[in-house]
């Protein structure tokens, strides 16, 4: 059954109008800074902080050319892609397992686990920084696994950053998948993992995609840890962008241009993914 509009009744006019107005205003709010970024990225440096005009007088595409030589933007981009991609995949897989356990099994220590995981969100990241760095260094010294300065260490860090919320969210999504579905699968002879991957995961695709987007963005945008845990060859975009500000100069126009350029693939990814956000229960219900 293809998913139909949520309401079988014709929507009342008041609803349509409020929707139109709300979404228009919201689009304006969202896009206004993007517009400013876009025009700033097309201005000569001296004009960026000058009086705002809706239509800038002087435009140049120079910043879009310069961004590639001022900092090794392409390298940073690749680093970010690898780090964020790997962290997302690992994080989602681990969170799916953990959420499945919590959602479908009763076991000792469940409450302790969920609450402890959540409590990690309460400590300011800034205070994790030094201890974590020390741990990575000591692991490096004793085992020879270089975690600081490498992509691996960053992947490890980011996948863990997104775990708590991912687990909590997925527990919620899994809980809302009716239990009859996976019990039917178990009756059909699937093992517990079979039931997870053939029934629950497909049914919870929107939630998993949402969580994946979240995990990706967490890794994509993180600045503080990346700034001390990377070096020249492993630096990610979020930190690398600060390379446009030097001791004497800040290339605002290039920062804006680079930010827009690196965001295009991400937004394009959202565009591709967004239809999975609306698949969902129906897919699993067919089974």
């Amino acid at each position: 059954m293809p998913r139909k509009p949520a309401s079988p009744m014709a929507a009342p006019r008041s609803f349509l109008w409020s929707r139109r107005i709300f979404l228009t205003v919201l689009t304006g709010f969202v896009l206004l800074p993007v517009y400013v970024m876009l025009t700033s990225s097309l201005k000569p440096l001296a004009d960026v902080t000058q009086s705002f005009r809706w239509l800038p007088s002087e435009l140049t595409i120079r910043p879009y050319i310069d961004i590639w030589s001022t900092v090794p933007l392409a390298d940073y981009f690749v680093n970010s892609l690898i780090v964020a991609g790997a962290a997302t995949v690992c994080s989602v897989v681990i969170a799916v397992f953990a959420a499945y356990a919590v959602s479908r099994y009763t076991f000792r220590g469940k409450r302790v686990f969920t609450v402890t995981v959540l409590s990690t969100q309460m400590f300011p990241g800034i205070l994790f920084l030094l201890p974590l760095f020390l741990i990575y260094v000591s692991i490096g010294n004793s085992t020879g696994i270089a975690l600081f300065g490498s992509r691996g260490g960053l992947i490890l860090t980011y996948l863990t950053f997104s775990l708590p919320f991912s687990i909590w969210m997925l527990i919620g999504y899994f809980d809302s998948v009716p239990k009859d579905l996976d019990e039917a699968a178990l009756v059909d002879g699937c093992g517990p993992l079979g039931a997870l991957f053939r029934v629950i995961v497909p049914a919870a695709i929107p939630g998993i995609v949402a969580v994946a987007v979240y995990a990706f963005m967490t890794a994509w945008g993180e600045v503080l840890f990346a700034s001390v845990m990377t070096n020249e060859t492993t630096r990610t975009l979020a930190v690398g962008l600060q390379g446009y500000s030097t001791l004497n100069d800040v290339y605002w126009n290039q920062i804006m241009a680079a930010s827009l350029v690196v965001s295009v693939p991400v937004v394009a990814g959202f565009l591709l993914l967004q239809r999975y956000l609306v698949a969902g229960l129906t897919a699993g219900a067919v089974k």
Partner: protein
């Protein structure tokens, strides 16, 4: 109301049919008991390594006199007992007073920001539940604030909020004449609203994303049944959509609260090393106490105090919202 009964939050799940059901088919006690732990193992390992152990080290640090004189070999730093805490909570002295002030600002800011983020995100998600032309594009567009690098996005807001040259004053003062003179947004009392605006702009797409995904799991037959009962659009929203979103919302709001409370990037990029008093968030305070003034002990003590506060808030929140859920079950 079939779904609401199957929906339970993790911490409160009563033993359900599943466990006993699987025991029927999966003999072997060890295996049955071991499986959930096995599934949790990877998550547990990473949480311990990256979150919990550093957190515990952080708590240890809060009892040390960890100034620049000792960071090189911090194991040898002298124990400070409760000194770091005393400095932080002595509200008669400027450090404690400033911390307290900043605490209240942060609480107010967080409540407003989370409320607005949730409201906007949910409204947008509900409005976009039905298909209409351009919905897919709009959906991706709404995630743009989330995708833009924080640094660049917040700097853009700085430019927009400038007194002399910014877009905001250009519109409010030059074009609409709403104010009788250009306002300062980045210094003085208005800075609170500037911070709130940026925070909401950056934060609501996340609420939107999560609620949108949550909406997909509400079975259509619920709406159909309600429609047959003669429930209108708004009533369906109140009676079906919002209750069904409850488990998602419970986590979403809590986590938004925790993040906003600890958000560092937005105020730091917006105001630099020292925020105006009206927008002096606690995270910047802690950063100053530890990284700027190189006193990691005091910074850690402030963090532990925060942790305690947030633990209490979370505990109360979970208790209250879960009870609310149970009540709705009974109904």
């Amino acid at each position: 109301m079939t779904t609401t009964t199957t929906v339970k939050v993790a911490g409160h799940q009563e033993p359900s049919g599943t466990a006993s059901g699987s025991s029927r088919r999966r003999p072997g006690r060890l295996r049955r008991i071991g499986l959930p732990y096995l599934l949790l193992l990877p998550a547990l390992f990473f949480e311990l390594l990256v979150h919990l152990v550093p957190m515990i080290i952080g708590i240890v640090m809060s009892f040390k006199e960890l100034t620049q004189f000792y960071i090189r070999d911090w194991g040898a730093a002298p124990w400070a007992g409760l000194d770091n805490y005393k400095v932080s909570v002595d509200i008669d002295a400027p450090v404690g007073e400033a911390l307290l002030h900043s605490f209240f600002v942060t609480v107010g800011f967080t409540l407003l920001s989370v409320g607005l983020c949730w409201l906007i995100g949910t409204t947008a998600a509900v409005f976009m539940q039905d298909a209409f032309r351009g919905r897919g594009l709009l959906r991706a567009l709404f995630l743009v604030p989330y995708a833009l690098p924080v640094y660049a996005a917040v700097i853009t807001w700085v430019f927009m909020f400038q007194h002399d040259n910014g877009l905001v004053n250009h519109v409010l003062y030059d074009q609409l004449h709403l104010t009788d003179k250009p306002s300062f947004w980045l210094i003085g009392d208005n800075s609170f609203y500037a911070l709130l605006t940026v925070s909401v702009w950056k934060g609501w797409p996340f609420a939107f994303l999560i609620v949108m995904a949550g909406l997909q799991n509400i079975p259509n037959d619920l709406y159909e049944a309600a429609a047959l009962d003669g429930a209108g659009m708004w009533q369906q929203l109140r009676r079906i959509t919002l209750p069904s979103l409850r488990p998602v919302n419970q986590v979403l709001i809590l986590v938004l609260f925790l993040w906003t409370f600890n958000d560092f990037n937005t105020p730091y990029v917006l105001f630099g090393k020292s925020a105006p008093e009206a927008a002096d968030l606690i995270s910047v305070h802690i950063y100053q106490a530890s990284f700027v003034t190189w006193n990691f002990g005091t910074g850690a003590a402030m963090s532990v105090l925060l942790l305690l506060f947030l633990l209490v808030v979370t505990g109360v929140y979970l208790a209250v919202t879960s009870r609310g859920r149970k009540a709705s079950h009974a109904a």
